[in-house]
């Protein structure tokens, strides 16, 4: 790091996340004045223009890449059109022990006096909750599933290479062409399309204006600067902001600044999930990098410093504050912007290059919470690239995570994408697969696979609430075979997937009609050519996902029943259910037996692993291929973020020996501590899942640093990854810390504020995690080599 980037990094780390009411106030002003004056898309575009015109802009001392979403770093705006926080919500955000956001009195007053009086009853969240049926609310309240879109907009979107070839002025030409081509004679939707295209055009102007304001600020700052070096930098910044994103960038610096303006615009327009991501940054930058070096306009050190400044920008942007269940399922400051390295070029050749290695060095040196980073490893990726990555992984920040680029392509081909689009795709968020720049791939909520067994064991009754939550699937005393129990489980699954998908469709329609995203649509093919919004199915591909949680726990719970009740006849299913209802009170020996003497997923034990496959198939069969409202279909993913802790808290004791209320297994990892045969056995078990039929799976392996020591440790880890990927494994990530370190951090958090651990699909500061999640991470098996 240079002195500049080291200081910017420190400032970013030290800044405290706080809520800024500015966006909410501006938006309220605009809506009070203008609601109902234009079509919905045009109203949204004009409100976005208003924000770009009026919001406070910021240019930090020494910055080379400019622009902030809030008035200053780590000041986080709110989106009252989606969720209008109550004064009580804001006070909770201010005071909650983890992932808090400072809320000052002025902000509280603005909310009480201006924002809440207007938006109360008008926010999308309220409209969604009002429209959803009672059965949906009951399942949501009792912990069967979560709902992503109740306070954040559909997002999960990544940019492709288009902004490096075109500027906003070029997109405006495309929009004009599309408008001119509308067929008002034969296309009954032509009027809607015209409004949408007008909205896209306005949003392009808004972003150009936003950049121009930064150009002016840079010029005035330069005028007031005596340091000639900084003055030159500021004049270059001004020139950058005047040229991009209006035009395609001409050099490395402009390329980064152009992306950053697009990023800010997307996360200002709406608060879409997972912010926004640059995708294959190394592939996008390599031509600018090489040209700059060849022409002598860029040095390697200069490129490195620019990238470091770029990284700090991501870290300045904590996720918009979530409340309620959604805060529990994703309790983190990280907003999941994720950079892909390596992968494949559209022609199928290896995509790693010198910038990939430069970025790995920067990830290593900066180790910031944001942006997340991953490598896309294909059969064609050189070992040098993998090993460079593993040397960074070994430091224990939990990133980069490692994806199987060949599986990522194959998964997308199964979904019907073209080969070129699939290769240009990759992963974002935690582990989700999408066609970058061409797809709205929307995660809709986590799904509690484990609680369904609890319902099947009680004929649909939820023991905790006493409510009849699920359908009557039979008295467990009447199940004479494991197959009958599994069928009851499957029927519970089918019932709630039905409720979830019907609810999702309703929410999709609400977004389609009330909350278009014209600027995001400009950046997503084929919204312009089709004249249809991102939130209305304008993207080339529109897959929606439901994310299964707890496959390890449900597998072990079912496996214990198959073995002890049906194979060995040790006790009846009703007797076991009664023990679970008592949460093993006075049944500790039985609980120990369930923990230690039954077949467990994660040990390369086909008895358990076959049950895992059966659960996966049941989940897949209920979800995959069901239509959404955007000419796309539903698919499954297997990832939890932090939701395995929340789902565990609402799920009673389970027959794998798990106590009531404790966390479920995360991702497709084995139950914490259940894997006893080391990492190759875990990988063999996980490899038995058919990853190609998912849209992403998450496998966490935890190592003590000693295991990875020396080149031998790196070589072995590289072999481990390559083998898993030959089995079509989708993703693997490594936690490299020892248990003592974590315990010390728990006791003395102030001394370990920089301790980053891999949580689920992302890394987080250990001390920011809930105590339950901290304990859970400590318990995850620490694989120890002899």
């Amino acid at each position: 790091m240079t002195g500049r980037t080291s200081r910017l990094r420190e400032e970013s780390l030290a800044a405290e996340p706080a809520i800024s009411a500015e966006r909410a106030i501006l938006l309220t002003e605009f809506y009070r004045e203008n609601e109902g004056r234009w079509s919905v898309p045009v109203l949204r575009a004009k409100s976005f223009y208003y924000l770009c015109e009026k919001k406070t802009i910021y240019l930090g001392e020494g910055e080379l890449i400019v622009g902030e979403r809030g008035p200053a770093p780590k000041l986080v705006p709110t989106y009252p059109e989606l969720t209008c926080h109550s004064v009580e919500d804001l006070k909770i955000l201010n005071s909650r022990p983890k992932t808090s956001y400072r809320v000052d009195d002025a902000c509280l007053a603005a909310y009480a006096d201006t924002v809440i009086p207007y938006w109360s009853g008008r926010s999308l969240r309220e409209k969604i909750f009002e429209a959803l049926p009672a059965e949906w609310h009951q399942a949501y309240r009792l912990g069967i599933f979560t709902e992503f879109m109740e306070q954040r907009a559909p997002g999960h979107t990544v940019l492709d290479d288009k902004i490096y070839q075109k500027g906003m002025l070029d997109f405006k030409k495309d929009i004009a062409r599309s408008l001119a081509d509308l067929d008002f004679e034969n296309d009954p939707l032509a009027y809607d399309k015209a409004e949408e295209l007008k909205a896209m055009d306005i949003s392009c102007d808004a972003v150009v204006l936003f950049a121009e304001r930064h150009a002016k600020l840079a010029e005035s700052t330069a005028a007031a600067t005596s340091d000639p070096v900084r003055k030159r930098e500021l004049m270059k910044i001004a020139a950058n902001c005047r040229w991009v994103p209006a035009h395609a960038p001409t050099d490395f610096w402009e390329a980064l600044q152009s992306y950053w303006f697009c990023h800010l615009a997307v996360i200002t327009e709406l608060n879409g999930w997972d912010a926004f991501s640059p995708g294959h940054l190394d592939q996008h930058l390599i031509s600018f990098f090489e040209r700059g070096l060849a022409e002598g306009t860029l040095s390697r050190e200069g490129a490195r410093e620019l990238l470091e400044c770029f990284f700090v920008k991501f870290n300045n942007h904590p996720s918009p504050p979530k409340v309620g269940v959604t805060a529990a399922e994703s309790g983190t400051y990280t907003d999941f912007a994720n950079i892909n390295l390596g992968g494949l070029l559209p022609d199928g050749s290896d995509g790693s290059n010198e910038v990939s290695h430069l970025l790995l060095d920067i990830i290593d040196e900066m180790h910031l919470l944001q942006p997340s980073s991953n490598i896309q490893l294909s059969r064609k990726s050189p070992d040098a690239f993998l090993k460079h990555t593993l040397r960074v992984v070994r430091k224990g920040y939990g990133f980069p995570s490692i994806f199987n680029a060949d599986s990522v392509v194959e998964e997308q081909l199964r979904q019907g994408k073209t080969l070129v689009d699939a290769r240009a795709g990759g992963c974002s968020g935690c582990v989700e697969v999408g066609a970058f720049g061409k797809e709205a791939y929307i995660l809709t909520g986590y799904f509690n696979l484990v609680k369904l067994l609890e319902l099947a064991l009680h004929d649909g009754l939820d023991p905790a609430s006493g409510e009849q939550l699920g359908p009557h699937t039979g008295d467990p005393a009447s199940f004479t075979s494991f197959d009958q129990l599994f069928e009851a489980f499957r029927q519970q699954l089918a019932h709630f997937i039905g409720i979830k998908i019907r609810g999702n469709r309703l929410i999709e329609m609400i977004y389609t009609r009330l909350m278009p995203a014209p600027f995001l649509s400009v950046l997503t093919d084929d919204c312009i050519s089709r004249g249809i919004d991102y939130n209305a199915g304008g993207a080339r591909y529109n897959n929606s996902f439901i994310q299964g949680v707890g496959i390890g726990s449900i597998t072990d719970a079912l496996s214990a029943i198959a073995q002890l009740v049906y194979d060995e006849g040790q006790f009846s299913l009703s007797e076991l259910a009664a023990v679970l209802d008592r949460n093993f009170a006075s049944d500790e020996p039985l609980r120990q037996r369930l923990l230690h003497k039954t077949h467990k997923y994660g040990n390369d034990d086909d008895y358990a692993d076959d049950i895992m496959r059966r659960v996966f198939d049941a989940f897949f069969n209920e979800v995959d291929g069901k239509p959404n409202t955007k000419e796309g279909v539903y698919r499954i993913e297997m990832l939890p973020t932090t939701c395995h802790v929340y789902f565990g808290s609402v799920t009673g004791a389970t027959s794998d020996g798990r106590l009531s209320g404790t966390p479920l297994s995360e991702g497709i990892s084995p139950v914490q501590g259940a894997d006893r045969n080391g990492p190759t056995a875990v990988i063999r078990s996980a490899g038995k899942m058919d990853h190609i039929r998912s849209g992403g799976t998450l496998l966490n392996l935890k190592f003590s640093p000693g295991m990875l020591a020396g080149e031998g440790g790196i070589d072995a880890l590289a072999g481990l990854v390559r083998s898993y990927f030959k089995m079509d494994g989708h993703h693997v990530q490594f936690n490299v810390v020892n248990v003592q370190t974590l315990r010390r951090a728990q006791e003395r958090p102030s001394e370990h504020r920089d301790l980053i651990v891999r949580v689920a699909g992302y890394s987080d500061y250990f001390c920011d995690l809930s105590t339950a999640l901290q304990n859970e991470i400590i318990e995850r098996t620490e694989h120890t080599a002899l």
Partner: protein, 304 residues
């Protein structure tokens, strides 16, 4: 059976552990097969369960929840160890795994099918299978049958031996072994006998003979405080190893206390030296010993 042509009359043996993802018993990702039984009684042995050639009961008292399931299961009412007939009923009823039987009879087929589960990892990392113990050559026929079977599957084989066997047995398996991990402890005969309970003449003679017929040997030397951790002994060891073309690498393995808690588990008396407390060798000291070997032209590493 792929290895049928090489099958010997004894195709079963006693195995006490199959350790997957073993990184320190040869190159790459390996599965180490631990064969039970060893003539030596090194006081620092970190696998005391490897010594007795027969299965035995292990008790990890920290896992015991005093549920008395073992008492009820034992037909004789939990006899003392000497009278135990190893029926295994106590360990199979034990809910926590606090009681277990260490060591089981396995066929060559059993071992092969278990180990081959990780074949892909071996191939991707340049690993394979390692036979350790105990002294794996204390089950020479079983070992030979295993080696032949893995050779037929094109799996890289290592044998981790202390050379405590008759030379004929060693030379008979040698052609089936890709890499020997050969443990040397001490050249001084009296010290060797005192520390390990066995004479070292056979060990040295076996090394001599092996290095004339085999060409890929790693020497592994535990550096044990008060036993061999002085310059004179290291010098003697280095001279014994130096100049052998077959010896590709020397590893100095610092004494560590991973054996802690193990003797109690097998009802074995804690070795007197261990009870009095021993400090593991300091890194500078190890570096100094490594230099002695390097001065004799040996490629030498610490750890592993």
């Amino acid at each position: 059976m792929v290895y049928g042509s090489q099958a010997t009359p004894v195709a079963t043996g006693t195995v006490f552990n199959l350790q997957r993802y073993s990184l320190h018993d040869g190159p790459g990702i390996r599965t180490t097969v631990f064969l039970k039984g060893c003539p030596a009684r090194c006081w620092w042995c970190h696998n005391p369960e490897s010594q007795d050639p027969h299965p035995e009961i292990a008790i990890s008292s920290s896992y015991c929840i005093a549920c008395d399931a073992c008492l009820l299961a034992c037909h004789e009412g939990l006899k003392p160890r000497e009278q135990c007939v190893l029926c295994g009923d106590c360990s199979s009823t034990c809910p926590t795994g606090a009681r277990s039987v260490v060591g089981s009879t396995m066929t060559v087929d059993d071992v092969v099918s278990q180990v081959l589960r990780d074949r892909m990892f071996f191939e991707d990392s340049g690993g394979g299978v390692t036979f350790s113990g105990g002294e794996p050559l204390s089950q020479p026929h079983f070992l030979k049958a295993l080696l032949a079977a893995f050779r037929s599957h094109e799996i890289h084989t290592c044998v981790d031996t202390a050379g405590l066997c008759c030379s004929d047995a060693l030379l008979e398996v040698a052609p089936l072994v890709d890499l020997f991990l050969y443990d040397l402890k001490c050249i001084d005969p009296a010290r060797h006998l005192e520390g390990t309970g066995v004479d070292n003449r056979q060990i040295l003679e076996n090394l001599e003979r092996l290095s004339t017929v085999h060409h890929n040997i790693w020497i592994r030397i535990p550096v044990v405080p008060g036993f061999n951790d002085d310059n004179e002994e290291m010098e003697r060891l280095a001279r014994a190893v130096a100049g052998r073309h077959a010896v590709r690498q020397v590893w100095l393995l610092p004494y560590h206390e991973t054996w802690a808690g193990k003797p109690e588990r097998y009802g074995k008396e804690l070795p007197i030296k261990a009870r009095t407390g021993v400090t593991p060798p300091a890194p500078e000291e190890l570096e100094n010993f490594a230099r002695i070997f390097r001065d004799h032209g040996c490629t030498t590493s610490i750890g592993g």
